[in-house]
């Protein structure tokens, strides 16, 4: 039964990832003037691993509360732009945010399309 949603599940996870990533990047932008702050990021593998782990423990659980936290990936390539040891490059963060947003919206559009297809197949009109 769950087979017709297999592809959608993956797209849903991808959308989740971009949503979470945008939150993390927003944190970087908010801390663009905090002394000694280093920008952070997350990877898709972390979200995927986190979610699949939840799935195997309890399949029927809605909105699972996992204690496994997503770990940050520190970005080390940044350069210090001021005297305050802050490594955030706002332009880069804004670009990443736009990227996440576009990818998220794309994922949602794909989900909508796939679901419309399923509905059409079911009702036949």
């Amino acid at each position: 039964m769950a087979d017709i949603f297999k592809d959608l599940d993956l797209i849903n996870k991808s959308a989740s990832f971009f949503m979470e990533r945008s939150k993390v990047i927003q944190g970087n932008i908010a801390n663009a003037n905090t002394p000694f702050y280093k920008p952070v990021d997350i990877t898709f593998q972390q979200i995927l691993a986190n979610q699949t782990k939840i799935k195997t423990t309890n399949d029927r659980h809605i909105n699972p509360e996992s204690k496994d936290r997503v770990n940050f990936v520190k970005i080390e390539s940044g350069y210090i732009t001021g005297y305050d040891q802050n490594k955030v490059i706002v332009e880069e963060e804004m670009a990443k945010l736009a990227e996440s947003s576009i990818m998220y919206k794309t994922a949602v559009e794909i989900m909508k399309k796939e679901m419309a297809k399923l509905k059409y197949a079911i009702s036949g009109r």
């Binding site: 939150k23 944190g27 801390n31 002394p35 702050y37 979200i47 947003s101």
Partner: protein, 136 residues
Amino acid sequence: MIFKGLEVAVSGMQAERVRIDLSASNLANVNSTRTEDGQPYRRKVPVFEAILDTQSKTPVYKVRVKEIQTDPSDFRLKYDPGNPDADQNGYVRLPNVDPLKEMVDMMSAIRSYEANLTAFNTHKDMLLKSLEIIRV
């Protein structure tokens, strides 16, 4: 919980607003030679602090103004014997505020505020987009 992302952007906006307010206060008091304690006005600077919010699965960094410090640098001296606040040598102590620096700082704060606002709107759009999934 859903609005964690918006909270992050708002925390950034609040912090930048404090910075703008303090810059405005510094600029307004560029010539205040007397405050409650009898000393000239001292420049005020906010100290930002990153806070790790671990309420949701993905931890996020928020920002807050940890404290507002006063700049301990020396006052400016101006020769003005007619001023009632002048010392016996005729020098008036003026606040350690540099209007140029304050203007630059304020512009930087406004830009940061706008960046946070853009982030807020982007995230809001994303949240609204997810509502479209169940639109018939």
